[in-house]
């Protein structure tokens, strides 16, 4: 069965680019435009195998979203990748402390992105 990835980004073009890359590689994709929408989808039963989230979004940002996800018992160990233009070490440390699994700086290279996914996804 195909693994599911939740993509959270306020940019429609970014969500489309990530979704295109993932769909080509055989993943199922669920999309959310910000942290609040993502939490809503997760609370209503969506259980992705991986979450890819932007950092700076209107409403709930990526770090707050990670904290919310880590509070959910069924998603406590789900890998979460940040995909953001932010590259400062301070922010990366904040993401790590919140529970992020990894940090990818935009623009992402699709081939490299898929390699990272394979590393962090449970077999």
């Amino acid at each position: 069965m195909a693994q599911t990835v939740l993509i959270v980004d306020d940019s429609r073009t970014m969500r489309d680019m990530v979704a295109l890359t993932l769909a080509d590689a055989g993943f199922q994709v669920v999309q959310a435009g910000d942290g609040d929408e993502a939490v809503g989808k997760l609370a209503s039963g969506s259980k992705p195998d991986l979450v890819v989230t932007d950092l700076n979004m209107p409403g709930m940002d990526g770090i707050s979203l990670i904290r919310e996800i880590r509070k959910m018992p069924t998603l406590k160990f789900t890998p979460i990748l940040m995909l953001t233009t932010e590259s400062s070490d301070d922010k990366k440390a904040e993401g790590r402390a919140a529970g992020a699994t990894g940090w990818i700086v935009k623009p992402f290279n699709p081939e490299q992105f898929l390699k990272v996914l394979k590393k962090v996804l449970p077999a």
Binding site: T13, T84, W103, K106, P107, N109, K119, V120
Partner: protein, 193 residues
């Protein structure tokens, strides 16, 4: 005598207000003038990036189109007279690499959007500040509230933005930034925790 004293007091008050007003405008100019080259560099970076993305996309579309023509020609030839299977496979691999490159180039929209937002935000702050200055130029609180450069720096998320700001302010990139921070590709990195 009392009238003269009252007139002098009014005059002193007006001079104080004018001095305060002058200080507020000077404070505004002191913040706004260094901000201009920063915003200009940010806009120039966006122009360069959109041009680069457009060129990238055009190049890759041309390459895909040429490959599609070659493959169509191969299919129209009798079996065995076309190009070797290895060449067709190599074409398919190059095609996949072209699509990857297109996906990377297409992300310029998100990146340039953020850069332009970081231009629009300080412009909006400057507008608000100028409106306050015009409404009450003698307010001593105004010049204290102005923090444009710090707020611009805080809003930045990309190393290229921070480097461009350092370059505009000091003529050199800040420590840790790429010497020629013009390509977002240079920033691409993956960190696994």
């Amino acid at each position: 005598m009392e009238q003269k004293a009252a007139a002098e007091a009014t005059l002193r008050q007006q001079i104080t207000q004018l001095e305060q007003s002058n200080r507020s405008w000077e404070a505004f100019a002191a913040h706004a003038i260094p901000l201009m080259p920063i915003l200009t560099r940010q806009i120039e970076a966006v122009i360069a990036q959109t041009e680069r993305a457009a060129l990238d996309l055009t190049g890759k579309i041309r390459s895909i189109s040429e490959r599609a023509r070659r493959q169509a020609a191969d299919m129209s030839r009798p079996a065995g007279s076309g190009r070797a299977v290895e060449q067709v496979q190599a074409d398919a691999e190059e095609l996949a690499a072209d699509v990857s490159r297109i996906i990377m180039a297409m992300q310029f929209q998100d990146i340039t959007k953020q850069k332009l937002e970081h231009v629009a935000q300080p412009l909006a702050q400057m507008k608000t500040y100028m409106e306050s200055l015009l409404a009450n130029p003698a307010s001593p609180e105004l010049s204290k509230a102005l923090n444009l450069l710090e707020e611009v720096e805080r809003s930045y998320t990309m190393e290229t933005e921070r480097a461009a700001m350092a370059h505009a302010l000091h003529g050199h990139a800040h420590a840790g930034a790429p010497a020629q921070a013009t390509s977002e590709e240079e920033e691409q990195s993956v960190t696994l925790f």
